[in-house]
Symmetry: D2
Subunit: 430 residues, 4 copies
């Protein structure tokens, strides 16, 4: 029988490379993981106690992660908490829901929780997905602008054929449109797909690859790269902030003045003013694409909890928060996320803990109709983001932070300002 | 003795709120966590089997996470793998190191691993932190531009006093400079600190809060918000991409033509061309701040492994990749990350699994001199990013993806293009 | 009979306001202009000699400018020179053409001239308009996101009716599409029109105003402003740089290595390198939307010469220059202007000097087919821009500037570097 | 004696090139201009009547423009009107001033005029230059990041020597600071100068050229280009919008509610709302750097009138407009232009008509102290911009446009909406 020791020895002897351990262990992924741990510990004398026991203490069979990781040595554990429940009036989700959030930033969950409580006191938040579409934009090389123009014409004349070709690779995906962008002898074609409940980057890539082969076969264009950065995946890009990617989703709420004053300890006017000076003017002066206070915090924590791609927090931060005093003197507040890339199937969503978090939200697996679960997840994240904006803007607006926090034993007095940053204002308010 | 059942009942009865469970459990955080799980399961009929056993199976005492999470229900587990080892010639780290990466995106670790192998074949990568400074930018309100000008003058005349005041709140932090930005009757002051081995957002916030009080006391300005979005934290903003935040760090390498051809299956010319058309022209046309291929993937995975703030992946994506053919026909490639916000103390770095990942890198805890460990972490992430760029650009350049991947059992043939996106080209190359 | 003196006296007496002079002068616009001059001179003791004789010396009847200016006091005279002729292989212009340029920046015309000469030596430049459409984006207010979604649906369902309504206001304009953007309770609708030979801002505004009335009548939406800044007119905006506005136009050329060496005194490699480091990497680091060297110089000078709107130079600067060494060792260079807003009818195009400059280009008035003249103007500006890029990149590449310029009597030796900036390299080369 | 005919013949015979005409005409620039006209007319059969009489009718000796133009064929005439007078409470200009504006956009001057009238009714506008500095950023090449770091250190250690070297080339310029930006093996050094009353691009270029030679002599760095696009000149770039270039200048005013209602026909609330939804949210969604309504219109028209560089309208558009209702119910409105590049000496400022426009403003030539005239010009443009914002926002706010404009004979009814765009609301209001 193969043992950890035997495997480690073979690696040391130069017989095996780290990524060959699964095969050498006859497919026993846990054995391979254990052996790999030993090897890396042996090489790094900086590991205290000579072990990685916490990392090694993962709670699922290693082969369940085989399509998620290579060279596995265990798992990272990130604490998960819940905010809410919060009342969501969405198109795809219409109920009171708790929001699972995995984070290491203290006070974040408390902050969102406080925002949820204000939303509930206002009767809940509305949420809508206003645009859908995962994109992939290959880049082609042509001889010059005359040929670029010809390529663009060809694409416009063959959209149906491109769609048929692209969709031949997928059971669920649907090509929505192809938008050409020409720069000198370079042409970018941005393919946009409805990928239903999948985040869809893989689906879009495979389908676009097939379409790109057709283009190469039928035109003089030559494919330079299947991704030409006009997609744009995992980069802060105006094309996403303006035109959207994944889901464009908005959550909004009108909070009665009394609720603002009692629960958020401030006024609608103060929140509107801070929103203007910080989120609008400050962001404008910073050359920012994020006109919000802490949307990325919520996107990051809910992405991590639900098995989304953590690198796509980048696009998730493309959000605009608006706040105004209504003619009745109440507070209208909204958060619009332009490019939230979410899925409830594929990627990390099938891992045990992540899958449970999706279940908690009631959105695990494929939706009915297809796409409804990913829509629901987007709506839930938007409402969580709205809660975060309200809580933080309110904390900045009230500024009576000291005494309350000092009373909260485990928070040191000097953390009071920090807490204000994520929006926990008074301990009795969350 | 308090039991889970008793606690759950009190919550159901309306006696207790979720966040009061720790107190009600006499400080037994694990008991509170268990009770909270039961409550949320009870409320969500969408939880299959009626349990969250995987989430509940966390591997550390709940009170170790008390400054990281509220309303804890357990932990999310994310698989972690290793890329490398890779030879790093840095200022703060100068050795062969494995790179721990926690991710759910299949093929990512393999891709980085392949890049590391090319870097090693070239004798290793150089890395340098070229700028340091964590920022916080409060926003003040004044009567108009005349008063704005007076405030800016006051700040310029009192930098020493501001520094003394700000630094009075911290043992390690140092105020480097204060830059004013005036817009109408609004003035933003961007405070920049050396925060040593801490990521420093908290330290900077507390110190700036103290300085803001001085400003309010001594001038006519009124503080609107301690963060005015010119910081800019967790938003894609040009001020970070241009002026830097946290660490600005570059990694580069010159890879001999033979290595490019043999290990990366392409040519220096092909990589330079793809880099120009995709990372430069494509990003330019997209209105992007990220002129790279997949830096956020590496930043995200190494942030998650080492306990960084996942929402700060946003700024981590502000990176420029350059590639050129040298006069000797070799490949010079570099990645410059403008605003990588890292720490080796505080935040999530003290959690058990995260701490072990830092140990594996040899950068756990405070460095000697102070700041050296965070510098080293930045250099390691930069080299990992460089590996990722090389691997992906090469995969796009070689395009001979099909047969090799088909041979790799656990990867479905139709994933071949996807894999190309993260840069795994040939199975025998990683 | 009304005299200047009588009019001036009435203004001094408070009887007349400045803008009422035309009426008071019985419609004699020149008389009104003369009187207005006297009034403003009388009020400003800073006018030397007590006259504005040069401004007063305008060369056209004042009433020819009545739809271009109010409160006229005369004309500003800007020197105009010619670059070229340059051989243009365009879709709408296919001949050797001189380029009229009005500017006060010394060396600019010479620089463009040198570029033209290189283009001619390469057999001419190709130019193509790759996209057309003038946009106007009104902003509407709705109750919240649910209503925003309803508005967007209504628009999608009524595109034909919107087109009919919008087009009812214009003889030539054609509504191409309407793109909705939702942010909270705010909805922007970007209307895009084919405005033929007119720059089209007025046409688009009037047509969109009519459509906006229909929307207000048929939906719950309320118009906030006819321009909501997503147009985006006269502002630097990614939406223009990415999606285009007015004409998207590219010019390119392949210049034989021998020509680069002899006429531009440098090598294809040097130009490609400078283009990468300056226009791509430098612009990327600057957070720029202009990835070029001096396109705005050419756009500005040709706009001024041909009666375009000088404030739209802003969008004209949204251009990307690319340069690469071909497999034959020659230089391929292209300039792609994303949002060049030009017209050959309307605006300032009918003024005497501007009209003559259009005649010189062969594009005065409406084209055949409609739109062809504005296309031709766009192609000519693109080729002029290409000439400017070549000349400046070459000058930076050669750097042998001193002696030649010193030989050029009227340029002081210490202007050599300045000249390099616009690209005049050697006196015998232009 | 040399005649036009003789010169034309020599050009046709291939004896002379166009730019050699001045020399061939024994320095008679007017003769050369006349001959050049004949040549270009002869080549372009598209010139109606076979003449360019209007262009030829320039009102100054051609040799006065010799440092402004090459290949001169005459002058373009642009109508100039005046807005105001407007009361300015600036640091450098403190009086009632008319604003000269050269434009071909009908209704623009009227619009600004109306804004000026509102400002006057409020007691005038305040204006301040809050930052000064013309920049030039050469780009250097080094071996890699280790050498880049060394270069940056060298620069930091030799600021005094760099200043002495740079300033040796200029009588007035002063080096304020040098900011390094490193990207891979490329280093940009942004030199910032106080250039007093000159716009300063030439001065900064020459001085930086000298400093660059020092750097090349003393370090291993090699100059790639004297301008590396981080300057950033004539490109829309966040570095200018955030950090400033030329003058950063703000104008503001508080307008009593009664004045807003009577003169602007709207309310403070309406203006604040439109400003938020159009200038802030709309611009945010557009990925814009211009958070204003029509600042470029004013910058363009005043630049053209006063001999500024028309291509620098690009940076002039980097402006943020803010509007809010004060606690007294009045309207506070401000415009902050980040990067207004102006001069009162050099460039086109010495041409006859332009010089007169500067005289009208009282800012011709060098100021006392040096820089005061350029400051004053910046303040005047800022106040003009403020007037434009007020007028346009008000017009959008009132929307009662039809009847009044129909009464205005020379404006066609269907132009009403167009007019609203630049802000002329009611004929009796300007």
């Amino acid at each position: 029988m193969v043992t950890v020791e035997a495997l480690v020895e073979r690696v040391h002897a130069g017989d095996l490379r780290l990524h060959e351990l699964e095969t050498a262990a006859d497919g026993d992924a846990d054995l391979a993981t254990a052996a790999r741990q030993q090897v890396v510990i042996g090489r790094a004398d900086s590991v205290e106690n000579g072990d990685l026991d916490s990392i090694a203490n993962y709670g699922f069979p290693a082969d369940r992660a085989e399509s998620n990781i290579e060279n596995m040595i265990g798992a990272i554990q990130v604490p998960i908490g819940v905010a809410g429940p919060v009342e969501i009036d969405g198109e795809a989700i219409d109920e009171e829901t708790v929001l699972p959030m995995a984070t290491t930033e203290g006070a974040l969950v408390a902050s969102i929780n406080r925002g949820c409580s204000s939303i509930n006191a206002a009767g809940g938040a509305t949420a809508r997905v206003t645009k859908r579409g995962m994109t992939r934009a290959p880049v082609f090389s042509v001889a010059g602008v005359a040929e670029a123009e010809a390529l663009v014409s060809w694409v416009r004349d063959h959209e149906a054929q491109l769609a048929a070709t692209a969709e031949s690779t997928t059971n669920h995906g649907e090509l929505l449109d192809v938008t050409p962008y020409a720069v000198g002898n370079t042409v970018f074609l941005r393919f946009r797909y409805d990928t239903k409940d999948a985040m869809g980057m893989n689906m879009a890539t495979i389908a676009t690859g097939e379409a790109a082969e057709l283009i190469e076969a039928e035109t003089t264009a030559s494919l330079v790269a299947l991704s030409g950065n006009l997609c744009a995946d995992k980069k802060p890009a105006a094309i996403n902030a303006t035109e959207g990617r994944g889901r464009s989703v908005t959550a909004d709420v009108t909070i009665p003045r009394a609720v603002v004053e009692e629960r958020l300890d401030t006024t609608p006017e103060a929140i509107a003013e801070i929103n203007t000076k910080k989120n609008h003017i400050g962001s404008a002066k910073a050359g920012s694409m994020g006109f919000n206070a802490q949307v990325a915090n919520v996107v990051g924590a809910m992405f991590l909890a639900t098995g989304q791609d953590e690198a796509q927090v980048v696009e998730g931060a493309n959000a605009i928060t608006t706040a105004e005093v209504t003619s009745d003197g109440d507070l209208y507040c909204a958060v619009s996320l332009a490019s939230l890339e979410v899925g409830t199937v594929g990627g990390g969503t099938g891992l045990p803990t992540q899958s449970e978090a999706l279940e908690l939200l009631g959105v695990a697996g494929g939706g009915d109709p297809a796409g409804a679960n990913a829509d629901a997840l987007a709506e839930a994240i938007a409402v969580g983001s709205l809660a975060g904006e309200l809580s933080l803007l309110a904390a900045l607006g009230s500024r009576n932070l000291t005494s309350a926090h000092a009373a909260l034993g485990r928070w040191r007095p000097d953390r009071r300002r920090t807490l204000a940053i994520v929006g926990v204002c008074r301990i009795n308010q969350w």
